[in-house]
């Protein structure tokens, strides 16, 4: 009996090849995509789950406001970790990490640029579980200038040599002794390091300054510790230390600080919540986003569900054409149970085929997905014994789900009614069926409209005048390597006719900016304004084309410009000034108890030094002296001579930079970095909308096959009565158009709400394109009609005699 089922099933598959292929491929694609998304979700949820003490590790964060500026950062002051661990019994262990900066590290003739060079306290390896292959976790970071490197890093520098005790040399002139080798940091860690050195390498870190914040602080708490209580204890404790320093350095008490509307608050983040729930200033890396995980879970389930529904629709529409077979089988004595088993066997068999195909599809798409999502997801369906039953269950569920309708429904009729074709009339229009296709279209249309508008915004970001010229600006890194000869270097490269200008600076637009509280002379003591500052040299505005609004820029001819500053318009507004020129502004300096006094000499037009996600915030521009520490030299070049310019600059660099490698980037691509996540969103939306429309069309194809099949008789009668082919096609189109247009009406508000929400992420954004709505409506209508045309034209052209004989 089973052999007979199999035979009929296979013959059915091969007789309707196009149908079978569409059906199986559709389901396979749905499974593959949703499995891929589930892999991604699993990875996102697994962050930092490898630390043994993970459920008891917390990170300290600080939030608050100073003047009108808000801050919310992971950076804490140096003494915080120590004082809290020593004073509060709930805290077992605390460690600090200092985010390192890119540097070049060499061993003998091997030089690498290291992006993940961090610093940490000596108990780092006791708190976190990064297994050491060499070295004692309690000792490796105890001494200054010790460094622990990862396995991969070790093989980069030392191949087979034993790295322990070897000396690595950094381009800042420090030497580090390798004291340990640890396993590579797993991908699903919220921070990474290739090298991690002892924090006591820097002698300034044990200081008692509570007002300067550089460190990420982590705690292990006692089991069963009440985190809310602990948070309050930390707050009280820390303010005892911060208070006196506020008074000493800034000249007012905590109460005055509070009553002026300022705030300073500590919070604790559970380690495992960091990746998906934290998006603060100074994060180690771009974290994930829990709403993305939610949205993608929904999308994955939706895709899988839709693929199943379509599979069911298509299968049912085929089985309706098999009523004769059912009737004959019944007349010949098949029981209802046997028929149900037969249909379920078929659908489970097809699901199995689809799953195998899905695995093959995943092999193809996973590398591309990894590239897009910047992941290293691996799919090994049978790597764990656990997987087999999961997939078995998946096949069973999808197979049963999609086979149940034809199985139970069609097998329930008496053989005579099946044979006489009467049940055709009873498989009525199903609103459920149409409703699901409607739903699929609504989702697709929402996605398509969103995609169009997301790309609009991305293009806007690309083309917006941000107040500086970002094109054809080449930026050379490690400007400090020139020591005190930055001006000379600039002059030498400017000899080239295509090099128009050059400027030295500590930070650049798109980079992270430091901020300090500023005080305008003549206003109350406690009226502080948190403002970003930037140090640039004399050629900054000419190189970057920053527009001067009032006053003057720094000039070589005016001595003492070191104590001059320029403000941007936002800063002028923040201070509430009408005529800022000549005003005095104070800033507490890094040195204890010192305050610098500056005079405002000019105002520049606002330029977007941060991403367009935010408004332009207040900025103070300081003069960078020849001897000051500088990181960048930005060079304006003529586009057409780019290659030649680079060659020329490199030559001068090699000549002057004391062996520092020549590293550079272009400002426009540097700024693009700020929108990486937005671009990923755009790409994902593009992919998902293509996929959704594909699935929706598949569903529509199934529905049109089904409905057209049901209306064969009606179409025949109409043709006998004189209906033309065109009128038949139009009649079918009209029916389906209704659904597509209704889907648009559902989708429009959804897309609007989503886009409104998404665009609010940007302080500078485009209007939602109203044209995109009707445009997408027309487009979806056209492709929907093309899809059903296959069916409708075929049935319109068919000989009515055939259709009527069919009955």
């Amino acid at each position: 009996m089973f052999k007979n089922y199999l035979k009929v099933a296979l013959r059915n598959l091969s007789r309707h090849k196009a149908f079978s292929i569409i059906n199986i491929v559709g389901l396979a694609l749905g499974i593959a995509i949703s499995l891929t998304i589930f892999l991604w979700i699993q990875d996102e949820l697994s962050y930092d789950d490898f630390h043994e003490k993970g459920d008891r590790i917390y990170r300290l964060t600080v939030s608050g406001s100073l003047g009108k500026e808000q801050f919310n950062t992971i950076n804490t002051a140096a003494p915080t970790a120590r004082v809290i661990a020593n004073t509060l019994p709930d805290v077992r262990l605390s460690t600090r990490i200092l985010k390192g900066w890119q540097k070049q590290v060499s061993y003998k003739d091997r030089i690498f640029s290291e992006d993940y060079f961090q610093y940490a306290d000596s108990n780092f390896f006791q708190l976190f579980s990064f297994p050491l292959l060499e070295g004692d976790p309690e000792k490796v970071l105890r001494k200054p200038n010790s460094v622990v490197i990862t396995q991969t890093t070790a093989s980069r520098y030392f191949d087979q040599e034993n790295p322990i005790g070897k000396e690595l040399i950094s381009d800042e002139g420090r030497n580090y002794i390798v004291t340990g080798v640890c396993k590579d940091v797993p991908n699903n860690s919220h921070f990474h390091f290739d090298l991690i050195a002892s924090l006591n390498t820097f002698d300034w870190i044990s200081d008692n300054n509570w007002l300067q914040q550089y460190f990420a602080t982590y705690f292990v708490v006692k089991p069963g510790c009440n985190i809310n209580n602990l948070k309050e204890k930390i707050q009280t404790l820390a303010m005892q230390y911060i208070g006196p320093q506020l008074e000493e350095f800034l000249g007012f008490t905590v109460d005055e600080f509070d009553s002026a509307g300022n705030k300073y608050e500590f919070s604790l983040q559970a380690l495992r919540d960091i990746h998906l729930h934290s998006n603060l200033e100074a994060e180690f890396e771009q974290n994930g986003n829990f709403s993305f995980v939610l949205v993608f879970s929904i999308i994955a389930i939706f895709i899988l569900f839709m693929a199943c529904i379509n599979f069911m629709n298509l299968t049912t529409s085929r089985s309706a054409a098999r009523t004769r077979e059912i009737g004959i089988r019944k007349a010949l004595g098949s029981s209802r149970k046997q028929l149900i088993v037969q249909f379920l066997t078929e659908s489970i068999g097809m699901t199995l085929l689809a799953l195998i195909l899905a695995f093959a599809i995943m092999e193809i798409i996973l590398p591309h997905f990894n590239e897009l999502a910047e992941k290293n997801l691996v799919f090994q369906p049978f790597s764990k014994w656990l997987h087999a039953p999961v997939f078995f269950l998946l096949i069973l569920i999808i197979g049963l789900l999609s086979g149940s309708y034809p199985a139970y429904f069609l097998s329930s009729f008496s053989p005579l009614s099946v044979l006489s074709g009467k049940i055709r009339q009873r498989i009525k229009k199903s609103y459920m069926r149409s409703g699901l296709v409607l739903f699929q279209f609504a989702i697709s249309i929402t996605l398509i409209i969103s995609t169009i508008n997301i790309f609009n915004q991305l293009r806007f970001i690309d083309q917006k005048d941000i107040g500086i010229s970002k094109n054809h600006i080449m930026v050379i890194e490690h400007a400090y390597s020139l020591r005190g000869k930055k001006e000379e270097f600039k002059n030498r490269i400017k000899q080239h006719k295509s090099i128009l200008d050059a400027t030295t600076s500590f930070t650049l637009p798109g980079d992270r900016f430091s901020s300090s509280s500023h005080h305008l002379e003549g206003t109350p003591e406690d009226e502080l304004h948190l403002m970003h500052w930037i140090h640039v040299d004399y050629d900054f505005i000419s190189t970057m084309d920053v527009r001067l609004k009032r006053g003057r820029f720094f000039s070589k001819n005016v001595p003492g410009d070191t104590l001059s500053i320029l403000l941007n318009e936002a800063a002028v507004k923040d201070f509430g000034l009408d005529n800022p020129i000549g005003k005095k502004v104070n800033r507490p300096s890094g040195d204890e108890g010192m305050t610098q006094k500056f005079t405002v000499i000019g105002v520049v037009e606002d330029f977007n030094y941060e991403s367009l996600h935010r408004d332009v915030r207040p900025l103070v521009i300081n003069l960078l002296n020849e001897d000051d520490y500088a990181r960048f030299i930005a060079v304006k070049i003529k586009a057409k001579d780019k290659a030649e310019c680079i060659k020329h600059i490199e030559k001068e660099w090699v000549d002057m930079a004391h062996g520092q490698a020549f590293l550079y980037f272009f400002l426009d691509s540097y700024l693009d970095r700020l929108y990486k996540e937005d671009k990923q969103t755009g790409q994902l939306f593009f992919i998902f909308s293509m996929l959704a429309i594909f699935i929706a069309l598949l569903g529509l194809y199934g529905l049109s096959t089904f409905i057209t099949g049901q209306r064969t008789k009606e179409i025949g009668i109409r043709k006998v009565l004189g209906a033309s082919e065109i009128s038949i096609v139009l009649m079918l189109w009209k029916d389906f158009s209704r659904w597509v247009l209704l889907a648009n009406l559902i989708a429009w508000p959804l897309a609007w709400v989503f886009l409104d929400h998404w665009l609010k992420n940007f302080a500078f954004n485009v209007e939602i394109s109203l044209v995109s709505f009707p445009l997408v409506a027309i487009a979806t209508l056209v492709i929907a009609l093309l899809t059903i045309s296959v069916q409708s034209v075929q049935s319109a052209l068919s000989n009515p005699v055939e259709a009527l004989k069919y009955e």
């Binding site: 006998v720 009565l721 004189g722």
Partner: protein, 230 residues
């Protein structure tokens, strides 16, 4: 009498991959305007095929078919459709009403395809329904009607456009004798008013209503009864 349709050596051959079936074999016949003709014969003798060709639902494989002296056997579907909807009404054994449309709408359908305005349509539909005594059920759907009622609706639909020819394929095949008789009486009365009627039937009783019986066997005319006069 005027000739309505003529066939000359009409053949219809159905081919599948391996089998060739001759459904009609050189059939020649003439039907005059106003005649009531019954086509009889055993199952598979080609009755329905002949009727489909006469109704221009299908083209013959060979031979000629003159409809109102116009050779139509090579016409394409579009042209056949034009002739068909203007001149021919159909009645089927299984009624072939559209389930989604009510009685009124079913009867109205041929008029829509003829492009007749809605005002005129209303009058004609009502007239046809009245003739068939179905006015009281005009808002009902086919599945709510008895077989006899459905067939009366089908006949109403067949006559609503006032065709010169009505082709009926076993019109009483799915009806009991009372309802069958009712339908045959309707057809007869239409015939009396000048409509040419060709029916295909197994029933000698139905055939009794006709003026002439054509008997088919294996796709050939084996007997034509010209003597039957009412």
């Amino acid at each position: 009498m005027e000739t309505l349709l003529q066939t000359r050596e009409l053949s219809k051959i159905f081919r599948t991959d391996e089998v060739e079936t001759v459904a009609l074999n050189k059939v020649s016949l003439d039907i005059q305007k106003g005649e009531f003709v019954a086509v009889m014969g055993p199952s598979g003798c080609g009755k329905s095929t002949l009727l489909n060709i006469l109704g221009m639902l299908d083209n013959p494989s060979n031979g000629k078919y003159f409809f109102q002296n116009e050779e139509v056997s090579t016409y394409k579907e579009r042209k056949r459709s034009l002739l068909r909807k203007a001149n021919i009404g159909f009645v089927f054994q299984n009624f072939n009403l559209i389930d989604e449309l009510n009685v009124y709408e079913n009867v109205e359908l041929p008029l829509i395809y003829l492009g007749i305005g809605s005002h005129d349509r209303k009058a004609k539909v009502e007239e046809a329904l009245e003739k068939m005594n179905m006015t009281h059920r005009q808002r009902s759907f086919p599945l709510q009607l008895s077989g006899g009622q459905q067939q009366r609706v089908a006949v109403a639909r067949a006559v609503v456009a006032n065709p010169s020819l009505i082709l009926a394929d076993e019109p009483t095949g799915n009806l009991d004798s009372t309802h069958g008789e009712e339908v045959m009486n309707l057809l007869e009365s239409l015939n009396r008013n000048g409509t040419t009627i060709v029916i295909v039937t197994h029933s000698e009783r139905d055939a009794d209503y006709s003026q002439r019986i054509i008997r088919l066997f294996d796709g050939k005319i084996i007997h034509e009864n010209f003597f039957k006069q009412k």
